[in-house]
Symmetry: C2
Subunit: 339 residues, 2 copies
């Protein structure tokens, strides 16, 4: 199997050294910002480098330093995960920050189920300097990688409370609080919630926010108003129908994502009730759905680009041996028509 390679001419340290009349060592010092070089030489080296249009050879540097400048971005390869527009935006956030820091993101879409397949490639392979994990349920893989000393950052709070792995996350508790409080402020007296998967921290946290809003407002929490759904339209619709049957006086619903909000609305309308007049509905995500749906869905917006950027920043901190701060990004409520 013969492979072609691009034909672009590249210049090297050797050429710069010759052109500037110094040694390769000095070129390296100048180009890496080592200040123990005479100013005159610094100038001539930089001039020579620019004249020759020098571009560093990543492979050579990687071989020499042991660092590749690459960070793996790992997404669990399951059909549902990939079609979520969320990840694309996260990737953009990561990519922007990395590009500005001379790092690159190696995208790995891989089934995390099998510990061997995925891990072998980057950890034992040592092909990357670190790894950012998206869409996490399989802790084993991540813990193994982390234990092996590879810098790891998670997007989304890990379920395991005493995990030491740094992460970035949206303030889902704050978001749930915001949504529920908004419904209270709007005059709702009986607010139910449709939860997501409670094994995912996002699901659990949004519910915590809902609970906290009751606490803050001094309202009693009725566990019967907490309907466990699983992020999907169907589950939300079914649970809402059930809620309405048992509690006809519900006048507000906080759904833990926009799709479920739409499911809830479908159920409400099916029962001949009006949104928001009879029952107000708040979603979560500020997705395209929430914007295009009629009526427009009032929802909690999270800064997804910022989430990716924060993950990248955290990774950079790790690579520089700084202890990163755990970043939790705040949310914003987008008021549309359903509440």
């Amino acid at each position: 199997m013969t492979l072609t390679s691009p034909s672009t001419a590249r210049s090297t340290y050797a050429e710069i050294a010759e052109s500037a009349g110094v040694s390769k060592a000095t070129v390296s010092r100048v180009l890496n910002g080592d200040d123990r070089v005479h100013p005159d030489r610094i100038a001539s080296v930089i001039e020579a480098a620019e004249k020759l249009g020098y571009r560093p050879n990543r492979a050579a540097r990687a071989l020499s330093t042991g660092r590749t400048g690459l960070v793996a971005v790992v997404i669990d390869d399951e059909p549902t995960a990939l079609s979520d527009p969320f990840w694309g935006v996260v990737l953009a956030g990561i990519s922007r920050v990395f590009l500005a820091n001379d790092l690159h993101s190696l995208l790995m879409v891989t089934p995390l189920g099998s510990p061997e397949g995925a891990i072998a490639h980057y950890l034992e392979g040592g092909e990357v300097d670190g790894a950012i994990f998206l869409q996490v349920h399989k802790d084993e893989v991540i813990n193994k990688v982390h234990a092996d000393g590879l810098p790891v950052v998670l997007i989304g709070r890990p379920i395991d409370e005493n995990s030491e792995i740094p992460f970035v996350d949206t303030d889902n508790i704050g978001g749930g609080l915001q949504a529920t409080k908004y419904l209270f402020d709007r005059g709702c007296s009986k607010v139910a919630t449709l939860t997501g998967d409670l094994d995912a921290s996002a699901g659990a946290d949004r519910l915590s926010g809902y609970k906290k809003a009751h606490e803050d407002a001094g309202r009693e929490l009725d566990l019967d108003l907490i309907a466990r759904a699983n992020w999907t339209f169907e589950s939300a619709k079914i649970m809402t129908l059930r809620l309405l049957a048992k509690h006809p006086d519900i006048d507000g619903i906080f759904a833990a994502n926009d799709i479920m909000a739409i499911g809830a609305i479908a159920a409400i309308q099916e029962r001949g009730r009006r949104v928001p007049d009879d029952i107000a509905v708040v979603g979560f995500d500020d997705s395209l759905l929430s914007q295009t749906h009629r009526p427009g869905i009032t929802t909690v917006r999270q800064d997804i680009i910022g989430l990716g950027a924060a993950a990248a920043e955290t990774m950079i901190a790790l690579l520089q041996s700084r202890t990163p701060e755990i970043e939790v990004l705040s949310t914003e409520i987008m008021i549309r028509e359903t509440a």
Copy 2:
């Protein structure tokens, strides 16, 4: 700035060579499948390599061969592009194929507007073996990279008809044909269409399919039924209201994507007409929206994972100096409730 690196111990050719009692050169030959080595030695080298848990060092190989094993996947960094779930799935398709071929995708989300910024990084940098472009409008950048000899693959047919750059695409013409023909077969006598941006090949092609369906059916094409929208909910809704005002007898609409189908439905319902009883609507994309929307949207499904995979295969062909076949993937109609 001090950087840490993973601590994992790695074995090298030198160690394998010593363990197997041969030279590094022979190790290289065996591990690269050069058959001019005595079978006995092949066996002992392989055994030694396995015993030592050998993993190749990508940087060293890249330095030596000039090939990095990395392919850039470039997405134009504009807010709308990123939130389209389409790209995430394409990326998955690419990633799967690459992973199986010992290649990696370097994700670059970057504004293609400025020719300098993005290009400098991979072409002049020579950091990648090739580039796959998504979401293309800026041909200049791509042409420059291509002209410089870097293998390039496009996802989506380039607007420039006589471009020589290999691409993969969904059969948008076929899809438009399929959708329109389905409406005809269903008994619609007056079918309008909402186009996307006609400067994008997907928009133009889906319209061509609509036209071709008329031709095939021997029906006269009424240009007045072609409403130029721009992929968005709002534009579709406005254009549909206009269509309905001028042509109250329209009984079918082919929207070039699902969001516009939803916009059309909103307009139709606002005018007190029913879907699909009065007017049938077909969308395009089989997006999550089309599945969760009520009524469920009949739509044209494209094989997005397959599109990514095809792009990856095409890139691999280029890297091996084979002339790739232009791949155009067929579509499938998903029948739901709106038609």
